[in-house]
């Protein structure tokens, strides 16, 4: 196999793994759309980082994006806390205004800095094939670090996700850990931007996690499954994209959605089909009971 192809496969698998695992927590905290907001809010940070640094570097972009992603969450929280505007509108405001600013900066860079060669445009739509060896290294290291962070703080994340008040009661630094989680979301979005693009990166956070939710009631299994689903979609998307000359990002998302649909329909306990079958069986039992009762037979 070509080295370049191996790079793409490795990075897509790792990206899917990390975003699936992190997405699990975002989903359970009902913050799925925060991933969407982060993906859009990262753009101005990336552009400003480019203006300062002068050339394309995934690490510098990561720092810039993390800063603007953090600012975006602060803005959302400020609006929700101090006005009567609800959270969904606050997310929408921040998402679209930050992204608008990003587009303004992008057009500015394209005119003034010869930015067309900088590859910033790839960040909008994603182009896994354009990843260089250096990018893949940064991506790999970041993804591995993120997975380790999740494993290390797993118990704490679990408690703050399910029972915040209890976590506070037993002395867990809730806001710090929330910050860590938000930082993980921002980072995974940023390293994913170049591979799958702004719009679809948020899907890579939500969809595998949602699919995993159908198979298990345990957080540990769900996190693991979400990671596996993400990695599978990443590799499958990259593979088809190489054969069919279609952009990687959308294919990854289509595979992830297919996994979700399969889980939604056929998962053993929570899936739609098993629910329908169960209801049918129970109704039948009830009917038999009724029949026997009417005939005066005892069970």
């Amino acid at each position: 196999m070509d080295v370049n192809v191996q790079w793409v496969f490795t990075s897509m698998a790792l990206l899917g793994l990390a975003s699936g695992m992190i997405g699990t927590f975002a989903l359970l905290k009902k913050q799925s759309l925060i991933g969407d907001a982060m993906a859009h809010a990262a753009l101005p940070g990336i552009c400003i980082a480019f203006l300062f640094y002068g050339q394309k570097s995934l690490l510098v972009f990561l720092i810039g994006a993390a800063c603007s992603g953090y600012m975006a969450t602060v803005c959302i929280q400020f609006i929700v806390k101090h006005t009567r505007i609800k959270e969904d509108a606050a997310i929408g405001i921040v998402l679209s205004v930050f992204f608008g600013l990003g587009i303004v900066l992008l057009t500015w860079i394209n005119q003034h800095e010869g930015g067309n060669q900088s590859g910033i445009n790839d960040f909008l739509f994603g182009k896994a094939a354009s990843l260089t060896g250096n990018d893949v290294n940064v991506l790999t290291i970041t993804a591995v670090l993120m997975v380790i962070t999740i494993l290390f703080f797993f118990k704490e994340f679990k408690i703050i996700t399910f029972d915040r008040a209890f976590a506070q009661g037993i002395g867990i630094p809730v806001s710090l850990l929330n910050g860590v989680l938000m930082f993980l979301i921002v980072s995974v979005v940023v390293i994913g931007l170049q591979a799958v693009g702004v719009v679809l990166m948020s899907a890579l956070l939500i969809t595998p996690a949602l699919a995993a939710r159908y198979w298990t009631e345990r957080l540990g299994w769900m996190t693991l499954l979400a990671g596996v689903f993400g990695a599978l979609s990443g590799v499958a998307g990259a593979y088809v994209s190489l054969i069919a000359y279609v952009p990687t990002g959308p294919l990854v998302i289509i595979f992830a959605t297919a996994l979700f649909l399969f889980s939604f329909l056929f998962a053993p306990k929570r899936g739609l089909c098993s629910k329908i079958i169960r209801r049918h069986v129970e109704r039948k039992k009830l009917r038999v009971k009724q029949l026997m009762y009417e005939r005066g037979e005892q069970l």
Partner: protein, 289 residues
């Protein structure tokens, strides 16, 4: 000169359309549905092209309308089957958008419709794409499309004002009064899809989201009356268009992006100085000097 006027007129029409529809979205806590529809509409446009082999007019509107309603329908279906609402929105629109992008890239050599153009829009090209009747140019196509959608929007809002109002503020009371709440919901989603697709081609998905949510949320800070909120939100949309256009030409940057930023600036200013719900007023009230 007329070049500038056409662009300003387009942006103004987008501002009014989005301001009117967005008000109901913000009040119904459905803001993110506009983000969803503005992306999934792309699939409708591609689908319409594949069926009718043309990229404008009625087929595009119909395609977008269908996909817009499909999006809402799927989101609601998943939600009813136990998927939490934010995740339902996220899954549906990203999937439809992904299918749209794949279809575009498969037909890219034959379609003049690239994803970049669709997302960022190119309002600067609007004046050159004119509608001709009997060899006589009668203004840009975008203006006619937006004007047509504006007429529909105003007609629906005037015709069903009371129903829209009651079902937005108190859907349970609306049901007891016998107002067809589900129908109103889908009519609103239809308006949203039409508005999105009409604005989409000239200003791009991102500005549509900005124009739908930000001016309406800003208007929500200024007034408590629905009628005032509609007018206020349309006015802010127009104001942002003008400021954004002037700024964009001054710095030679993306017009759509600049308009989105100016909606943000107006929101930020309003956040402080709005008469009743502004922060300055609230803080003054708290600490009487």
């Amino acid at each position: 000169m007329s070049y500038t006027i056409w662009i300003l007129l387009t942006a103004t029409l987008v501002g009014i359309n989005c301001g009117l529809v967005g008000t109901f979205l913000v009040l119904r806590k459905m803001s993110m549905l506009s983000d969803a529809i503005s992306h999934s509409v792309l699939l409708g446009i591609v689908g319409a092209y594949m069926v009718s082999h043309q990229l404008q007019g009625v087929s595009m509107l119909l395609g977008a309308l269908l996909v817009g309603l499909l999006t809402t329908f799927l989101v609601q279906l998943l939600h009813q089957k136990g998927v939490q609402s934010d995740a339902a929105i996220g899954v549906v629109f990203t999937c439809l958008f992904a299918i749209g992008v794949v279809l575009i890239s498969l037909f890219a050599d034959r379609v003049h419709l690239d994803v970049e153009h669709a997302l960022m829009g190119e309002i600067a090209f609007v004046p050159w794409d004119v509608l001709e009747v009997g060899g006589q140019s009668i203004g840009p196509k975008a203006i006619w499309l937006l004007g047509f959608v504006l007429a529909i929007n105003i007609f629906v809002i005037v015709f069903a004002y009371k129903e829209l109002k009651i079902s937005s503020f108190d859907s349970e009371m609306a049901i007891t009064l016998g107002i067809p709440v589900a129908l109103i919901h889908y009519v609103l989603m239809g308006m949203l899809s039409l508005t999105t697709v009409a604005s989409f081609d000239s200003v791009g998905a991102i500005l549509v989201v900005a124009m739908l949510i930000v001016p309406s949320a800003t208007a929500y800070l200024w007034t408590d009356r629905l009628s005032m909120m509609l007018i206020c939100s349309a006015f802010i949309g127009v104001l942002a268009s003008v400021i954004g256009y002037v700024g964009a030409t001054a710095f030679n940057v993306s017009i759509s992006g600049a308009i989105a930023v100016s909606t943000g600036v107006i929101f930020f200013v309003s956040l402080w100085i709005a008469p009743k719900h502004g922060l300055l007023r609230k803080w003054l009230k708290k600490s009487p000097v």
